[in-house]
Amino acid sequence: MVLELQKPRPIWYIMFSTHHTDIGLLYMILSLSALFMGGALALAIRLELFFPGAQIIADSMTFNRMFTVHGTTLIFLFILPFASGIGNYLVPIMIRYKDMAYPKLNAIAFWMIPPAFALVWLGFADFTWNAYAPYSVISAPGPAADMWIFGLKILGVSSILGAINFVVTILKCKHPDLPLSKAPLLAWSFLTSSLIILVAMPTFAAALLMLLTDRLGVSRFFDPAVGGDPIAYQHLFWFTFHPEVYVLVIPAIGFLYEIIPRFSRKPIFSHSSGVFAFVLLAIVSFASWAHHMYATGMSFTEKTVFMIGTLAAVPASAMHVFNFLATMWGGRIKFATPMMWAIGGIALFFSAGAGGVVNSAMPLDFISHDSYWVVGHFHLFVMGTIAFGSFGFLYYIFPYITGRMYSEKWGIAHFVLSFVGAVMVFFTQHVLGLYGMPRRVFDYPPIPEWIAMNQFITIGAMLLGIGAAIFLVNIIYSSAKGKPANMDDPWGLGGKYYYPYEAKNPHHSH
C-alpha cells in the first residue's frame, strides 16, 4: 500500500481492520472520491448555465437529478465522512486512548456508507436535497426517490452510530490525567458536533419513514386533502438540518484550531473561549430551524421568534473568528499550504456569516429566499469554510499519514486557484440572486446581466475545477513519490509535531 511509507501493508489489511487510523483512512478515501464525483456534476451544471437554452445536458429532468445528487453527495458523502475520517484518526490520540471506544461499531458505521452511496448514485433522484413533500410524495419519479430515501436512512443511522462512538470515546476513554476542559479543541469540536447529531437526527429519520409510507400510499401524513400538512415535513426536515449545518462547520473550525496556532508558532489565544463557543453553538443551533420557512406563510410572531433564534447563534461564531485572529496577532506566521487554506477559510467564513445575517432579517429574506443568493450563501460555508478547512487539514495531516511531503508549490497553486474561483463564483451568485434569478433552474431568460454573471460564475467554477485536478495529482503523486517528511517537524516550525505517528499500524509489532 503506497499510502504508508514506514510500513506498507496490502490494502485488504486496511479494509478489514477495526483500528481507528485505518477506519479514518477509509473515511478519507471515500470522502475524497465523493468530492470528485460530486464536483464533476457541479462543473456540468455550470457549463449548462453558461448560455441560456439547452447546452450540454439533454433535458431539465437530467439537470434536476444532477443538482440533487451533487448536493446530497457533497454534504453527506464528502463533508461528513471527511470529518469522521480526521476524527477517527486523531481524537483517540488526542485524548490518549488506544482506539475508539467501540472499534467494531466504528467499522460498521463506516461500511454502511458505501451501500448508501450506491443507492443515491444508482437511483439519481430529482427532488433536491430537501425532498420537500408533497413533491417527493406525489410527483418525484421512483425508484430513484425511494432509493434516495433508503440511502439517506442508512446514512442517518451510520451518523448516529459514529456520534455515539465519539461521545463515549471522549467522555469515557480519555486519559484520567487529562481534564475534559483541557482536551484539544479539535476533540471538543467532535464532542459538540456528535451531541448535536444525537439530538437532531431522529426527526429527519422519522420524516424519511413518513415520506416512504406516504409514497407507498399506506399513510397520508403530508396530504392536505385528508388533514395532513406538507409544511410539517419542512419542520421535521429543518429541525434536523439547521443544527446539522453546525455539525458540518464545527469540525472544520476544529481543524482551524489545530492549524492556526501551529503555523503562528503561538498557543491558542483562549482555549476556554473556544470551548465555550462550541458549547454555545451546539445549544443555540436548535433555536433557528424555521428561518428556512419564512415564505411558507408563517405568522409574524413565528418569524420573529426564529429570527431572534438565528441571530443569537452569531456571537458564538464571531468568538471563533476573534480567537483565530488573536492567535495570529503577533505570531511568527509561516505561510505554508495548510495555513493559506486556514486564512482563506476564515475570510470566507466571515463573509458567509454576514450574508447569513441578511437572510435572517425577515423582510430581506423575501428578496434572497430560493434565489441564487442562497446558493452563494451556503456555498461560502460549505466550500469556502468547510472544504477549505478540510483541504488545509488534509495537507497538514498528509506527512503524518503517508510519511511523505506533498508538493508545496502545487499546494499553493491549488489554494490560489480555489480562492479566486470561490470568490468569483459565490460572491457573484449573491448578486445574481439580488437580480432575481431563482435557484434550481435548468434554463433562464436571456437577460443580459443574468447571462454575464452566469458566465463569470462558470469561469470561476472552472478555476476551482483546475485547482481540484492539481490537488488530485499532487496527493496521488506525493503519496507514492514525495520526499520523505521529517516526521518530527515537517514544516520546520520548531518544536515537535503534535502527533506520535508511532500510534499507527499497531498490527505490525507482531
Binding site: Y132, Y135, S139, P230, P267, K303, I367, S371, P438, R440
Partner: protein, 142 residues
C-alpha cells in the same frame, strides 16, 4: 483563562451583539409595516399548479400566465396550489409567497410603475419549474 487581557474580546462581542440587535430591531419594524394589508386592497386569487399560474380577480375574471393590474391600486394576493409547493414571485416588487396545497397564504403590493414585469416560480416543483413563468402588466387607468 490564560494570563492575557480579555477586554478586546469583550468589546468585540459587544459590537457584534449591538449590530445584531440593530439588524433584528430594524427587520422587526419593517416586517411589521410590510405585513399590514390595506383595508381597500383588491383580492386576487393566485393558484400555482405544475407548471403555470392562474389568477382570479374579484369580478370573477380569470387569467392564465398573465396578470393585468392598475397602477397605484393595492392588491392582496391569496396564494395556493393544487398539487405540489410552488412559490409565487414578482421579484421587481419583492412579492414572494409559497403556494402550498391546503393553505391560503397572503401577500400584498401596490404597483407604482407602469410596464411589464416577470412572474416566476421560486420553489422547486419538477420538470418545468425553470419555465413556470408569467408576466405582470401594470396599466395606467387615468
Amino acid at each position: 483563562m490564560s494570563g492575557h487581557s480579555h477586554w478586546p474580546e469583550w468589546i468585540y462581542i459587544g459590537v457584534v451583539v449591538a449590530l445584531l440587535v440593530w439588524v433584528g430591531a430594524e427587520a422587526w419594524n419593517l416586517e411589521r409595516l410590510v405585513e399590514h394589508v390595506p383595508e381597500d386592497a383588491k383580492v386576487i386569487k393566485v393558484t400555482g399548479q405544475q407548471w403555470f399560474w392562474t389568477f382570479e380577480h374579484e369580478d370573477g375574471t380569470k387569467e392564465v400566465g398573465e396578470l393585468h393590474v392598475k397602477k397605484g391600486v393595492p392588491y392582496k394576493f391569496e396564494v395556493t396550489s393544487t398539487d405540489v409547493i410552488h412559490s409565487f414571485n414578482i421579484h421587481d416588487y419583492v412579492v414572494l409567497m409559497d403556494a402550498v396545497p391546503g393553505r391560503i397564504n397572503i401577500v400584498w403590493f401596490v404597483p407604482f410603475d407602469e410596464g411589464e414585469f416577470p412572474i416566476q416560480c421560486r420553489e422547486y416543483c419538477g420538470l418545468i419549474h425553470y419555465n413556470m413563468r408569467g408576466t405582470l402588466y401594470v396599466e395606467d387607468d387615468a
